[in-house]
Symmetry: C2
Subunit: 342 residues, 2 copies
């Protein structure tokens, strides 16, 4: 059973574990500081397919296959696959996973999708609604630019506040009662925050208040402080959003995050050298950093308690063109090692 | 706890109930045969707002408020709101529910979204991950035409196989241990089927195989036959998809659905008079018919066991333009009255 803890947090009582994870990335991501930790670095931006959407779908199916292989799980034993992505009608996911004969749960949380899918998979596995579930999400620089911004061929200049959508995918296999030391202990799903920011080139600023709200709710509900965790990891706030998150946490909640906070958007690229402006972004940014580097450190025992609070900007090109502000959301999961009393 | 039953079905053991539901529709839908059963019929296609996307968001927020009011539930007591829609990046939902201070779970299953959101809400409530949850989804004729087809001003002709996207929303409040007689007993989530259909004006044909697969899986997993149910209800297969579903069930599974099957796309409009070609469609079609007419009959005891198998076409305009076929999915929930041994 699951149990409500405080106003917004769910405590999972049966230790849904992360049996295995995989992360596959594109060339630029592979040249970043975490390059050696990914399962695969694909040099071809098209992933051998005909267009950017198919490329992202191929990235998804490969990453799911890799995660299943690493967990020694056969496709036919998976009860449910939770996936979503940034493309209109989530076609990277639907075309990416249709080859699998696995029931499909589509979800959408923009760049918070990895936390949402991990949260959903964990609740389903914890409750017995699924024995084995896969959670995954992706993004692709080229499919995202094409859809949200300008054709790549324009070579548009981007402002320093802009982030670079990662070509990356992370997939996670969840199962109870298995050898893995890492499990999902708490889930905190976020409400939508909207402080009126309208600049689609400054997503970090739009998303920081959502992260602050969810992290503050989680800490209050569990009666804990940042120092109780080895790491509080946001998804893709980038440089500007990260500063803003820490400021909001300090001012609004009197909580100092700086000692334990990091952001996947700051970890994926070497910003100065790789010309990614404010950092990485996209569903795949957090998914790939978590599925490789972070879970690697947790398996080794170097990290024992990690709060993952991914954020998403819930706008579209239409809402932006119509002058609407950017609503944002942040969902969080607490990953714990079994040898740590959480 | 939940329990796996057969290969694809989840049995919920704690009777997550549908405490209340609401359905709000547009003018055309209000003039159809179910007109008297809706909570509200809005004559203004813009719902008092500035554009079609905002209109759909307004439709969502009003319907959620109405469902909460009918269930005598305060917004602050709702733990989670599950919602999705057809618009790019699901903006009808994110802008529709951002006024509520309720954690938001975004999901995407195209027109299967209502079954997916009911399924997810039921699993969360059953397991204790949420005490009170809302599941809802919408569609709007004008926002859908604008996004998926042609500007309304063109007055495009549509082929007879095409369906009409309903301007409609259905919202459902779920809670355990309450007075309502109707609960969710089983959930069967579907896998993606794709038989290669590419005609975006013939969604019924693309979706029928998915419905057949999920209904057949449900019947096999629960060891039951169509006659064990008062109604097997699909979401928006329309005329062509309905014929095809019954044919597939007969040919592939030797199952005769005709005596107990109906389709919300055939129920929402009076097809001959209302010029809707093959029937109604859109996320709101099934959601509004279920949230008014069907649950009304269940509350009165005239229907006791209803299998709702909504279908969704998981394509986008981009995948269609790139010549891809239409992947489809169908998710199902079994609604039971408590006085019926299920």
């Amino acid at each position: 059973m699951a149990k409500r803890t405080g106003k917004n947090t769910i405590e999972l009582e049966n230790k849904p574990k992360i049996l295995s994870s995989a992360a596959i990335v594109g060339k630029n991501e592979g040249e970043g500081p975490l390059g050696e930790e990914f399962d695969e670095i694909e040099q071809d931006a098209l992933f051998g397919r005909e267009n950017w959407e198919q490329a992202e779908s191929e990235l998804q199916s490969r990453t799911v296959r890799k995660a299943l292989e690493k967990g020694k799980i056969s496709e036919k034993d998976v009860d449910l696959l939770f996936a979503g992505d940034l493309l209109n009608q989530c076609i990277a996911s639907s075309f990416g996973v249709k080859e699998f004969s696995i029931p499909f749960f589509g979800l959408y949380g923009a760049c918070s999708t990895i936390a949402l899918s991990l949260a959903a998979a964990a609740v389903f596995v914890d409750s017995g609604a699924a024995e084995i579930a896969v959670a995954e999400t992706s993004s692709h620089f080229c499919s995202a630019e094409k859809q949200f911004r300008f054709p790549l061929e324009y070579g548009s200049q981007r402002p320093p506040t802009a982030q670079r959508t990662a070509t990356a995918c992370g997939a996670f296999v969840l199962k109870k009662n298995c050898e893995s030391p890492v499990y999902v202990k708490y889930v905190t799903l976020g409400k939508i925050t909207d402080l009126g920011i309208k600049d689609a080139n400054n997503m970090g600023a739009a998303m920081a208040p959502a992260a602050a709200d969810t992290i503050a709710n989680f800490l209050r509900d569990t009666n804990t402080a940042p120092d109780d965790y080895n790491l509080i990891l946001t998804g893709d706030l980038g440089e500007i959003g990260t500063k803003l998150l820490r400021e909001i946490m300090q001012k609004e909640y009197d909580i100092d995050l700086s000692r334990v906070h990091n952001d996947c958007g700051l970890m994926l690229f070497e910003r100065e050298k790789q010309d990614v402006h404010a950092g990485g972004s996209g569903c795949g940014c957090c998914a790939s950093v978590l599925g490789s580097h972070i879970l690697g450190l947790m398996r080794k025992g170097e990290l024992k308690k990690v709060l993952v609070a991914a954020t998403g900007a819930l706008m579209s090109t239409i809402s932006a063109n119509e002058g609407q502000s950017i609503p944002a959301v942040s969902h969080a999961v607490l990953l714990c090692r079994e040898d740590e009393n959480g």
